[in-house]
Symmetry: C2
Subunit: 703 residues, 2 copies
Amino acid sequence: MIKKLLLGLLLASHVVCADDGYRLWLKYDPLPDATQRANYARSAGFIAVSGNDPVLRTAASELQAGLQGLLGKPVPVIGSAAGRTGGIVLQVGSDPALNREGYRLASRGNNLVVSANSASGVLYGAFALLRQVQTGASVANLSVTSNPKVKLRMLNHWDNVNGTIERGYAGSSLWKWYELPERIDPRYRDYARANASLGINGTVVNNVNASPRFMTDEYIKKVAALADVFRPYGIRVYLSVYFPASKVVNGPGKPALKSADPLDPAVRQWWAEKVNEIYAQIPDFGGFLVKANSEGEPGPQDYGRTHADGANMLAEALGTHDGVVIWRSFVYKPAENADRFRAAYEEFTPLDGKFHPKVIVQVKNGPIDFQVREPFSPLFGAMPKTPLAMEFQLTQEYLGFATHMVYEAPMFKECLDTDTHVKGPGSTVAKVIDGSLHGYEQTAMAGVANTGSDRNWTGHTMGQANWYAFGRLAWDHTLPSDGIAREWVQMTLTRQPKAVQTITDLMMRSREIYVNYTNPLGLHHIMGYGIHYGPEPWLDKAPRPDWRHTYYHRADSVGVGFNRTATGSNALSLYTPQVQQQWENPQTTPLPYLLWFHHVPWNQTLSTGRSLWDELCVRYYTGADSVRWMQQQWAQMKPALDPEQFDDVAGRLAVQQKEAIWWRDACVLYFGRFARRPIPAPFKAPDRSLEEVKRIVDIYQLR
Amino acid sequence: MIKKLLLGLLLASHVVCADDGYRLWLKYDPLPDATQRANYARSAGFIAVSGNDPVLRTAASELQAGLQGLLGKPVPVIGSAAGRTGGIVLQVGSDPALNREGYRLASRGNNLVVSANSASGVLYGAFALLRQVQTGASVANLSVTSNPKVKLRMLNHWDNVNGTIERGYAGSSLWKWYELPERIDPRYRDYARANASLGINGTVVNNVNASPRFMTDEYIKKVAALADVFRPYGIRVYLSVYFPASKVVNGPGKPALKSADPLDPAVRQWWAEKVNEIYAQIPDFGGFLVKANSEGEPGPQDYGRTHADGANMLAEALGTHDGVVIWRSFVYKPAENADRFRAAYEEFTPLDGKFHPKVIVQVKNGPIDFQVREPFSPLFGAMPKTPLAMEFQLTQEYLGFATHMVYEAPMFKECLDTDTHVKGPGSTVAKVIDGSLHGYEQTAMAGVANTGSDRNWTGHTMGQANWYAFGRLAWDHTLPSDGIAREWVQMTLTRQPKAVQTITDLMMRSREIYVNYTNPLGLHHIMGYGIHYGPEPWLDKAPRPDWRHTYYHRADSVGVGFNRTATGSNALSLYTPQVQQQWENPQTTPLPYLLWFHHVPWNQTLSTGRSLWDELCVRYYTGADSVRWMQQQWAQMKPALDPEQFDDVAGRLAVQQKEAIWWRDACVLYFGRFARRPIPAPFKAPDRSLEEVKRIVDIYQLR
């Protein structure tokens, strides 16, 4: 009977139990090797935890579920290990080697002890221990100490009230606003589990282009329901703010104001009351994220005030509550002869030292907008008195949506490891962010989420690795990209060593391949208008000059590139002399940054020995060819992978291959009209005209 | 080892194998009763099918997967039953008792024979046989014959190219346009399976507010890839048409035209070529669905032509291809003193007999727009020379989105069973639709889909029943609503008899309960502006008069309701005298339709013995109270249900309860200002003011 039922279950189960990617890296299928299971089992006889702290209980239950699945045996949770050995002990203590959220994994006698100075620390330690088992690492004589380098490790969701996600490519929003607070989607909890497993401790649930609804009692109740789900996982909720909310949001029994002027006492009072209203329902509310006077969003400048005036007003409204104001520096004003590259620096550096201690300024990694490669933002290192947070983008707005495989860790690391030289050699961006360079009290790193309601969370299965890598790097920016990739592959895709190596290698090359077939040599911002899909370097009409793509590449009969040296916009001068020196001379500027700073003649010979035009073609063609190579590599992985996950990626690689050639053809045909030079051998000129390529772009711009 | 692995699988499996509703009514878990399994097993020793027809192969594999799951034993598929008994034989023959898609289930000797005149017929028969087993019906001495009453049974998807769904409440579109045609989401196949199991044989994949992208080679390729997945399930793909596509869509190598005039030879040529282009890639393409000169969509009238001119142009473009043009009659023009009720009738009846034989006119069930209750559209029966298709709405645009339990079958049946009297008594709307009344060659029924990317497809688990019921009624409109509900509950939720009865009863009452707390006595179109969420009867400003809600209810100090008799708009005159007679006298008009046709004084005594005002209050209050009753009933079902499905519905019922009171309070407070009468005992006046209720509505209108 039971056999029959199991058979039935297995026969029917393909419908529900295929690996659809829902479990992310938290896959707890039994380890295939019985000896290995037995070895781990000897150290997992029980899980001892005392007290009823909800986060500690989470640590115990996650560890239990994980180990029971991986080891294929029940693992009891008990109150005390007194007199028992061969188990795992979870405990909160006071360990000088650990900061508030750090953890220690240590063998003590015959037990494994997971200790920390807080329940969250223990939770992170529990997941770290599971990671050891999932990746087949030994747990004998364990002695691991790990402290997060950044305090606030958060996701930013650009999710709208109507369920859409700005720049989202994985379905609709995870948050069901019409169902909350009464109905709790089981997925909310799984979202929290995934974040907690990485040490992510905060989430901004709504778009920075914020709806004022979130400042109403109706929606605060909904957000509070989410916060209740996230709390046991050590995750705090933050809200994006519509700056003039005081003008549109009523009481109850309290009329909206005529103003949103941050220096108006009535406005300040309005926000003080709003803050108290929020904390009454969300006692651990994290604070506000603000996009103001940016891309049409209103802000303090509408009242002749500064960003500091606006941010400080909100910070003072937070009063004694344990919350912060995260103010975005992403601003730029339309102006024909200005350089968007300079905008944030010019608006924000004069305000250094003028911000309230509760304010953090959140800066995108580069000066423009999440391009495939950008020089680091000149703001990093330029505001010693103001805590600066890093804003990375996980969702692939400029990286091929959900059909291009682009592993982002190397891109994040590239920025974090860059030396700003503001306090001499070794003044890396990472040290600005983790507070060590300027002694910031507050430190934060944010990732614009790539999650959505798609079953596998990120659309592209490989996109899960970007969520994973962001979390790991926010915890410890010194972790190597390839190590993070290897870990993720083992936990998510396969433990077969050759496959782990091959897929890790693919991931490590993927971003540079994408750069080559889309924006080589420092080209930037030439993607399809509005939707940011496909190539559109020819775009020379738009509502504002800095939305035209000819503004960025400046191709002409002489050459291509944006001269940002002293003879051009001189944006280069915003950096320290040592950095300027790296990038000021077109002869010596590293090729990846060349066209970011220089207008280079088509016939200029580069360090590769090729002319600029030839080099450009070589990169576009080899980039597109590399996608074929990626497909071939992936095809060989089939035996080591779950069929559904294999097919998902194989299908997306086929799209990527088609679009890589689309990008290549569009760009060599378009720039070729200026260069008036042939495609260098051995490459063949595209077998279609620029007009044919443009036609495809136009199709995707139709209503 | 195997035991360990299974244990591990079971311990870990809760993560993936909870009943998240993905399988819909195609749940093939082992039947709990071993004797019952054994009984069925005796008739399921094998499945015999010959030939390689893809649809026949589908029938065999679906039957195999279903029976293997339900019976917990392997069921081999073999080529011929020659000399074997105790199995199932699938065969295509020529059976005069069956139409092209009908099927017969018959015991022959010791075998069960599923026969039909086409492979699709066999497929539908196979699912019918599975339904017998799923619902515990006997398969001994089986003799079932079933023929679909309508030829085209289709879903209309209002899905946009950006992945959003107009009036969709279950996540984003199922169609991943940026991944197609290279990547095929496994879900496409499961979508086809669900439809085929109901006999749905067509799907319009894009919104009637159509993007011209679908008329480009780029998108036709994508649609063709979907058609390839659907074909083995007997489902044909249709496309909504942007009427002036010829003005915006280029070749390849073929410029767009200056015109979209249906009588312009160049335009007719353009469409003829476009049709050939489509059929070259989709040989079984079903045809076009058109929304023209409606709500701002362009159409033939822009060129001084009629709907017939436009539809006939497309029909002639289809030429000899086996496709149809489905032209929607949903039109109404802004005019202060017109009655929107009359618009479609006035525009379309003069065109009767002027349409090409390939044209079907698709009419919404009621004259306005999918309101909670509408009188049948006066077009039914008024166009004897023009095949009319029924358009029902499954997605709950006006029925509480995805948080209100409203079983729609009784609403569909209410319309289908109404007697138009156009050919004497018994001239029901159903007989118009199935062609029997006027001898239509073409017959069709369409449901505006409630599907989306949410894991359970429809957001509200109970919403699956509306998809199911539509499919069953499109096949056979004589099926009883409660029978369909019972079937669906047994296949989807539980087989526990008491629970089946209670849940069926809940479903059967659900729509009337919704009517009572939102639009009792024939009130209509008083929902929140634009988003159609919540109540907004006070709306008296809008871009067009017929978008104001005061236009519909016309409340004043005397009474409420829209006088559509001879002393009013006289829309009533569009019906036959017999129908007019039912609705012309406010004393005798059935209360559900009262305010559709009459402006009734607040103090008028109704057939219930109560004044209009008191009756209105009784319905709003009892309606809202009934939701509590629904919650109590559901709570008692817990032991009989899967925990996840139980929680899903329980959570949504809690939202429904809150919103029912919101509707009640909004409407009694608003209409009370005109009636100037107290809330009748025993009911208590709302404990909040109209302003407070309006405030909540305003919140949901914020950007």
